[in-house]
């Protein structure tokens, strides 16, 4: 069984939810990123979603856009992030899921990317601008190496699409809580619960919810419905603006999920 699958299974048996924080690799530099990942692990993160900076992150709001700009300025690239994970593996075995836009992967070459990422110890990949419709090649190659492909389900996804997407997912299903970009205010539509329950009915795979989860209260609310809670912009912002207060904030997020 794959590492991520095992984690969800274990948490489920304990009646717990997965905490999946996101940070941008290289914001402000890779040394700090290493430090932050170890802090997140200490705060009982279960899986780390590690952002790869891209020049045009069209699914992201201003917080992550700016973080990407800082990381690009520091010279961080997909190649460097992969080597970074290799180095990180000397310190921690926490599952790492890369969140990258498609063009860096395309430019790298899908096959080389998957081989190098798996070799470095990357466990999964989320590509927000690659729907499974366009991901056939990547899915096929990932199956050979055991890299988890995590696709996004949106509030607008129809039943047919939910089936198609969840079928292409390995590890977990990423449910986008809102129609919008990362870091937006979490205003859950009335249909949220119905829709996410439909997703859960259509798949046995764990469903983690992200986009717009920014406060411990949001985390608590979402954890009551989902198998995992993804928090991105709020943590990126904390580390950038008040790095000293970040640990406390992250611990609080974790506590509210229990």
């Amino acid at each position: 069984m794959h590492k991520i699958e095992k984690i969800f299974k274990k948490l489920k048996s304990q009646n717990k939810k997965a905490f999946i924080p996101y940070i941008m690799a290289g914001d402000p530099d890779l040394e700090k990123t290493m430090e932050y990942i170890l802090i997140l692990e200490e705060c009982r993160a279960d899986i780390i979603e590690l952002g790869v900076p891209f020049s045009d992150p069209l699914a992201d709001g201003p917080t992550i856009q700016r973080a990407a700009e800082r990381a690009l300025k520091a010279g961080v690239t997909l190649k460097k992030v992969i080597s970074f994970v290799k180095k990180l593996r000397q310190h921690t075995q926490i599952p790492i899921v890369l969140m990258t836009y498609y063009n860096p992967v395309f430019k790298y070459g899908e096959e080389s990317f998957i081989n190098d990422a798996v070799d470095a110890g990357v466990d999964g990949v989320i590509i927000p601008d690659l729907p499974p419709d366009e991901g056939e090649g990547l899915i096929k190659l990932s199956r050979k190496t055991g890299l988890n492909t995590i696709f996004l389900v949106a509030p607008t996804s129809t039943e047919d699409r939910i089936k198609k997407i969840t079928k292409a997912c390995r590890g977990f299903v990423y449910y986008v809580s809102i129609t919008g970009i990362t870091g937006s205010k979490l205003i859950l539509e009335k249909t949220f619960k119905t829709h996410i329950n439909l997703v859960k009915k259509l798949t046995d795979k764990p469903v983690a919810v992200g986009f717009g989860v920014s406060t411990p209260e949001d985390a608590k609310m979402v954890s009551q419905i989902a198998d995992g809670v993804i928090v991105g912009s709020a943590i990126v912002k904390k580390f950038f603006e008040h790095p000293l207060g970040a640990t406390e904030f992250i611990k609080k997020l974790r506590e509210e999920m229990e």
Partner: protein
Amino acid sequence: MKKKTINSKDKRGYFGQYGGRFVPETLMPALLELENAYSKLKKNSSFQKELKHLHETYTGRPTPLYFAKRLTKYLGGAKIYLKREDLAHTGAHKINNALGQALLAKKMDKHRLIAETGAGQHGVATATGAALVGLECEIYMGSEDMQRQSLNVFRMKLLGAKVNEVNIGSRTLKDAINESLRDWTTNVRTTHYVLGTVFGPHPFPVMVRDFQAVIGREAKKQIIKTEGRLPDYLIACVGGGSNAMGLFYEFLNDNVKMIGVEAGGRGIDTGEHAARFAGGSIGVFQGCKSYLLQDADGNVLGTHSVSAGLDYASIGPEHPYLRDMKRVQYTFATDDEALSAFELLSKTEGIIPALESAHAIAETVKLAPKLSKNKIIIINLSGRGDKDVQHVARIKGIEL
């Protein structure tokens, strides 16, 4: 020759290896809905009739095909005709697409239109379409473009649109598209995104081309009426590539040479340009696979052109396909060449062209003298230059 259209069996919207639908899942259902609605309306004769009527009574179509006698004489070679899209309402070909999509959005019960704009022409056209059919309208525009096209910003406001300044990234067209896609992702249930060129996720490249194809249909009839035969060359500037596709599409089966002119900026070796074929490689950007100016790690490079409408890192996916098929040839004109052509057309013909269109004229300046006098060139004069007058004065160091 078989008509070079999208392979109808490929439902994913590919032109050979280019195109596709690379967008966040939130937008996928909207694109499928749009594809469905468009394919129905495309065959719906009352929709087509309504659009045609609007083009005749509102846009001012057909636009004239004008024989540029003095320019022809000056260059001393092939006969040069101008397809006068600059005379269409709002001053550029952009209105052909914007009106089509505004009508479509209305039929789809959307109550809000959004659009990106570079030179401002597409923003003005969309604001016009929104006013005409009675929809709310918001335009995204890079702050650098707002500065060089301030006149168009005010026009959009006069037309009742809200203009949002985009202050991130390179602050030009690509960033305006990112912001429009973000807005669309957020408001997808109520909003239609009027993409302004033959770019982005399927069905936009096909749909925008279809709305622009009226240019080539008219030009073909007009040249046959005037000259009794087809032209030898078609020349158009290529940013995203909608005016070029609009002119070329009708002639793809014919024995007519076609040239697309990209923005050479300050020269290819300076890196400050927007010539995707001369300086780019295949990449995936803003919804589709095409040629892209990018670095070795797949990040999108900054671009430069004197004309905001050509200042873009990628190109509509049908263009690399037509290039691979050797059906269309692509070249570029530098800022300086475009600026000279801008003045040349103004002085020889009394027509001030848009700086974008001036790139097509610059190529004609190189080509026409090499051709014999019985050859015929049609240039797509895609827009008028009123919007560029202040910008050109600034470049020349003249205070107005």
